[in-house]
């Protein structure tokens, strides 16, 4: 209590918003006006908080401020009784995460090993998942939701380190930051400083976004984190969300399987598949120096899209792939060569696993540009390649290739591997692909979230030469096709728009302004 009421010595960080700078005195005034009973409650809360947190400063102070801000918000703005506010902000939800020193560390999974080797200044594999709520986001509650959710995902509470042979992630105990969105989506993160976080939680108007450096997880793991964060955010608003449909109970202990390297589940096979492919045709638009130059979301009627795809004897993914092939042809001046689209495959479908780490492989759909003329011409070939390419047998071969490759490089020191990987990646880069289509599929939300989440989107980071990267996610009846652009040339999205109109699929387009213009 004394610490809560007389913390004049605590200096606020310079970069903190003005609202927080004044919160000390506001909290003091608020506490002074409490009844005797409420002061006792606050004292008890304070004792529990300090028992649960033994971070070193300034992290402890920041966490402490989060709770003070949340108390003020709930009691003053939302007029909740203090008892109810403290019940929602139960310090039990902090668990022992902030009380224990960081001892865990994790070797990178086989897919993640390439990301720190290939990244460079301004180029990093980042993806983003967003949820749109029916009301504007309350930053104070989002911060508390993050403070309490992170303990359930200990492999996200890490910082990247360079070992002698491989990079690894080392746990870090700090207050992780939820910040207002004010920069480019999927902007590279600064992961070099001591204790730097490899993910971001952002808010803007009614949207909560999480951006991950791919080293931590794939779309599936990211979605579980976002759902759990949303559920915790809702709980702080008094809305109960059951731990189901991908929402984890934050007070359950993380399991070993959640942090496992799923690649080790591969069935041993002598057959392997190569990673090297011929270069693909690229869209012709001029590459922008600002990455991404624009984000676009085609929000479609999912039921209608499904029916159209069904009428063509195709799945939604196959149908969208066909549209993208046609749009790619429209957006390039080349008349010879192959269009190649990478489709990530969730390996959890083939190998049941609850891992939150990377566990995806990919297949590539390749079509000569000459045959990409109409939807009906290319659909059967796309369907065939997608079925074969994403089969368990093929994926198992690729898993084995990945394992063999990692094993063959494991005794080479990082200071040799790193420049070699940079040269190889610099030469090949993403030139073997025209674009990517990553589909997270239909997102099911439990009661409590279902009513309040109006839409979701999934955005991939930019490549090097690929002018567009596409991703899809479906929630409620919204099929959201997101395009991350690396060129201001609007040909690609204009063609997608025309094709959707042609097939009579209702849609609206949302997105960012053209950055850098």
């Amino acid at each position: 209590m004394e610490r809560l009421l007389s913390n004049k010595k605590i200096k606020q960080r310079k970069e903190k918003p003005l609202a927080l700078l004044s919160s000390k005195s506001r909290f003091q005034t608020f506490a002074d006006e409490l009844t005797k009973e409420d002061r006792a409650l606050l004292t008890h809360f304070d004792q529990n908080f300090h028992q649960a947190v033994s971070l070193i400063n300034p992290e402890a102070k920041l966490l402490y401020d989060d709770y003070k801000n949340a108390i003020l918000l709930l009691c003053e703005k939302q007029k909740l009784p203090l008892e109810e506010a403290l019940k929602r902000l139960d310090t039990c939800d902090l668990g022992g995460f902030y009380a224990r020193p960081p001892i865990l560390w994790y070797p990178l999974d086989n897919a993640a090993k390439v990301y720190p080797l290939s990244m460079k200044h301004g180029q990093m594999a980042v993806f983003r998942l967003s949820a749109y709520l029916d009301e504007p986001i309350i930053p104070e509650l989002l911060q508390i939701a993050l403070d309490t959710t992170i303990k359930r995902f200990p492999f996200f509470a890490t910082t990247i380190k360079a070992g002698f042979f491989w990079h690894y992630i080392d746990s870090t105990k700090r207050r992780f930051n939820a910040e207002p969105e004010s920069d480019l989506p999927c902007k590279p993160m600064n992961v070099s400083i001591s204790g730097a976080q490899s993910f971001r939680v952002l808010y803007y108007q009614n949207r909560i976004s999480v951006e991950f450096f791919h080293i931590l997880t794939d779309g599936s793991g990211g979605l579980t984190f976002l759902k759990t964060l949303l559920a915790q955010y809702m709980k702080l608003q008094g809305i109960e969300v059951p731990s189901a449909m991908g929402v984890l109970n934050i007070n359950d202990a993380p399991t070993t399987e959640e942090a496992e390297n799923g690649f080790l589940k591969a069935e041993p096979s002598k057959k392997t598949s190569g990673f090297i492919s011929k270069t693909a045709l690229q869209m012709s638009g001029k590459l922008s120096s600002v990455k991404p130059v624009q984000i676009l979301h085609f929000v479609m009627d999912a039921e209608k899209a499904k029916n159209v795809a069904k009428s063509k004897d195709a799945t939604v993914t196959t149908f969208m792939l066909a549209l993208i092939f046609l749009a790619c042809k429209y957006a390039t001046d080349d008349i010879k060569g192959r269009l190649q689209i990478q489709v990530p495959v969730n390996m959890r479908k083939h190998y049941p696993s609850t891992t939150m780490r990377n566990f995806s492989m990919y297949c590539t759909i390749k079509l000569p540009i000459e045959i990409v003329n109409s939807l009906d011409d290319i659909l059967p070939e796309i369907k065939k390649q997608l079925t074969e390419g994403s089969s368990k047998e093929n994926m198992n071969e690729m898993l084995n290739s990945t394992i063999k490759m990692v094993n063959s490089f494991r005794f080479i020191p990082l200071f040799i591997k790193k420049p070699a990987a940079k040269v190889i990646y610099g030469v090949l880069g993403d030139a073997v692909l025209t674009t990517t289509l990553s589909n997270l599929g239909l997102v099911e939300l439990p009661e409590g979230l279902n009513e309040h989440v109006t839409n979701m989107d999934f955005v991939l980071g930019t490549g090097i030469t690929n002018r567009a990267s596409c991703s899809m996610i479906t929630v409620h009846n919204n099929l959201n096709l997101s395009i991350t652009k690396l060129t201001a040339d609007p040909s690609f999205e204009n063609k997608i728009s025309d094709l959707l109109k042609q097939f009579d699929i209702p849609f609206k387009v949302q997105g960012s302004p053209l950055y850098g213009n």
Partner: protein, 188 residues
């Protein structure tokens, strides 16, 4: 196509990028021209020192590491870079002073690293390794200079004592964590 804007507008930050680009072009030009001038004019190989200095500026300021660029790793990197620079000056410009100056510079680096480490052990124990590399380098250097080269000056002795003390102190303070750190760093 009508787009509903749902992202905030971004403040332009192009100036910094452009400045970096201009500087990198200038540095590349200097790295290209200096060896040519040196070859044409002849004399001492001063361009080797220019090249290393440009590399130092490039790797420490404009192209800093993307992983582990913390206080300890920066100091370690700078110490190594300075040692190489001194070695090049000794080799190509003026000789006879390296045995005295280099141990002083390394001794200073060891003290500085020790201060950074011990001032905040809970945070810095994860950044231990670059310090250990510099420390081991200093110990090997000391053994070579003191026992093989038989140079028994006070800077060499100071370097030997400080580097061995730092290693022993780190192991003593961290105990299990020290070995855990090594296990992490050398995992396959």
């Amino acid at each position: 196509m009508e787009i509903e804007i749902i992202y905030p507008s971004i403040k332009k930050r192009v100036k910094r990028q452009q400045l970096n680009l201009i500087i990198s072009y200038l540095m590349a030009a200097a790295a290209y021209i200096c060896p040519i001038i040196n070859l044409l004019v002849g004399g001492k190989a001063w361009s080797a020192i220019v090249l290393w200095s440009l590399w130092m500026i490039w790797t420490n300021i404009f192209n800093a590491p993307l992983v582990e660029d913390n206080l300890i790793s920066r100091t370690s990197r700078l110490a190594f870079d300075c040692a190489v620079l001194l070695l090049l000056i000794e080799l190509f410009l003026k000789s006879g002073w390296l045995g005295f100056v280099l141990p002083i510079v390394c001794f200073g680096a060891i003290i500085l690293l020790g201060v950074f480490f011990f001032i905040n052990i809970p945070k810095q124990k994860q950044n231990l390794m670059p310090m250990i590399w510099v420390d081991l380098g200093a110990i090997v250097g000391f053994i070579f200079v003191f026992f093989v080269w038989k140079l028994k000056s006070w800077p060499v002795i100071s370097l030997g004592i400080s580097s061995i003390t730092l290693l022993i102190a780190s192991v003593a303070v961290l105990r299990k964590s020290f070995w855990l750190e090594l296990k992490k760093r050398f995992h396959l």
